[in-house]
Subunit: 232 residues, 4 copies
């Protein structure tokens, strides 16, 4: 079942490797069916070199039960499920340990919107969640990771497609999008702008960008009056 | 029409990718005919892997109207046009989001001339423009980006071929040259010297270079008494 | 003799190169037979491009004498032997001069556990030994390097498989594991988390992680209740 | 004439490119005949991709006159000649604009001996020369660059084979050795240890290494009692 989505999720996982945002088995990509009944995700701890489309694992979104696949799903499966259930616009989710993004997550700092590269993809600062509490870690850790992400997005009243990424404190980035492929692109760009923000802050800790530049760049590429790229 | 220039601009765009100063569809290169009637530029938002010489877009410089090409031109087209109109010596223009240069642009800091690598290509500091004002961003943003570049170059009384690059605040670098190919080389070198300047300033914020070293290196490579390289 | 182990150690040495943690002849990997009688190690100062499995050198662990091999063993051989003798669980040892790890070693600073990437592999801070004293350097330097590593591990009461790496002050990292291959993986990850820690500390010198997150990530991947990856 | 040396110098120039310490036509390598009559050096400003062994230029060391070759020699030719004339043990010289080394040169700071990676190749700090004075730059600039290097080495009473590299202030590194190939290796290692020193100093500006560690590592690899590598 779901051959096309498996292939899509598989290719998106390989793209993570090609874009140098993961080493070894770090990182995972998932996708969801349009009716939001099934999620397809990378198996846990299998080397990218050995991965095939058929190794992707299928789970029922509501129950979280595996319905197809030889392997255990990614250990971060519960986090993905929480996000898909809460945000019906997300069709792909990515988790990586890309190094600049992880550095901000470990420092407990948001990636502030400092330039147009950021504004072309993320409509505002990329937030960093609070740390999980002891009981949230000890029990249902991966589910609670999802909940802390949801809490942060709700508290800041963000649209997860307008700011399609977040940092989990002491952990690393999650990115999302309207497809597994787009989620990977957002994860790659998140890493690139983390790199730029890191150096910007070392050069000038007071750096900032006016909100009207953020508006302009975001909306010239997204939304109904967008004029970047080609008419579809 | 203009097959040779299209090929030249196409190759220069691919070179941006080979030199690792762009990812995805970021960055664009343009060229202009010798009579300065037509500009050739990369289409907007087309993946480099799919790009062909024939996809390049031709515009009339004076009117800014597209005269050939299937696609929309780069969203930065108006910026290129302003620069070609104002500086008749420029025959190629490049825009990238290369990471070190963007970091300086986001920090709002010029790339100061700190060594001979800089002096071999840029005869003085590479300036950073002021931020655009709200009305300049809201209306005719790309044209106003060009105007702010022109304003900065004029205010500092620079020769854009002697300092063939600039940073637009909160945005990133533009570079230019006597051909699309040369403009790309200047963009690549601008990124390299931004990398060097970044580390130099972390090691010693008081770093500086005597102007007679700047003179020497610039003029041993450029101008009528240049002795670097081979006689043409 | 020991063809399989030689091949394993040889492949692990090549992997160091592929993972970009060594240049030239820097770095070495060893393995030990299950009965802990013989150690196999890379020869000293032979270019990786010319290396063959047959070039690996075999030494008797107890006496430290070479029992097979055309070449001199790695100059760090005595350090490896001290570690194998003291820690019977180690089956592979790696030494590199990977740049971020060396930077911490030169700065005399531990790589603190600041995030889950660290916790997935190292159950606590990766310590930095004290500097060797003059007499320890002048006589039996390599053996004393091993002894200083042992001293540091014992003083901190660490399990070398739970924190499978260490920094020798002013020198660089040693990593270990339950096979030569796993030791290389630990060396590669040690470098990656050093890179992340370096940037984290520049962004926020006060960064830290709660111990319950360390516990969770370490034990979801290691130990008897681990659930990361696939059942063996 | 000198086909073997031309080939050697040519290959050493290509190695600079392979090791990523130069881009475009930056950097040059030279060699000298054993009787020290002739120097072979890369031509000025020719793309590495087009370079052939036959393009190498031959000059008479004493007079500095070109005796063979179609092209102008490297613009840094006079610097190389001054060094060969003054230091009879040098058989190869390299100049690059590798980025970490240039950063130290631009900051006007020596690369201090902070660890064993440094000590394996350089027996002490890699000094940075004073800046050239105005008259030294205006007339005979390249020759005076050589003289300032000589002045610095003499003042510090260094053996240029024991510390086979130096930084010219606001410019970049020169490295040397007992062959063009060895000089390139020293240039590559100089860049690597500059990278390590840069990060070490950001982590801990007070970092230092005891001189007995420097002695040990240098002499276990160099000199008559060396035991690193294989007996020749």
């Amino acid at each position: 079942m779901l051959e096309a989505l498996k292939e899509e999720v598989f290719q998106a996982n390989l793209e993570l490797k090609r874009q140098n945002v993961v080493i070894y088995t770090w990182g995972n990509v998932s996708g969801i069916t349009e009716d939001r009944k099934y999620m397809v995700i990378k198996p846990s701890g299998i080397a990218y070199e050995k991965l095939q489309a058929d190794d992707m694992v299928v789970l029922e979104v509501e129950s979280g039960k595996k319905v197809e696949g030889e392997w255990n799903p990614s250990s971060d499966t519960e986090t993905h499920l929480v996000l898909y259930r809460r945000f019906p616009k997300l069709l792909g989710i990515v988790h990586t340990h890309s190094t600049y993004a992880v550095s901000f997550a470990q420092a407990g700092k948001a990636i502030r919107a400092l330039g147009t590269t950021h504004a072309d993809y993320f409509y505002g600062d990329i937030p960093c969640t609070r740390a999980l509490k002891e009981d949230e870690v000890k029990k249902d850790y991966e589910k609670n990771t999802g909940k802390v992400i949801v809490e942060c997005i709700e508290k800041l009243q963000l649209d997860p497609l307008a700011i399609p990424g977040i940092l989990v404190k002491n952990h690393g980035p999650f990115a999302y999008g309207i497809s597994p492929k787009k989620a990977v692109e957002n994860a790659v760009v998140l890493e690139k702008i983390a790199e730029m923000a890191f150096r910007t802050l070392l050069l000038n800790p007071e750096s900032s960008m006016e909100s009207y530049i953020l508006d302009k760049h975001y909306f010239r590429k997204h939304g109904k009056n967008a004029y970047y790229g080609q008419k579809k």
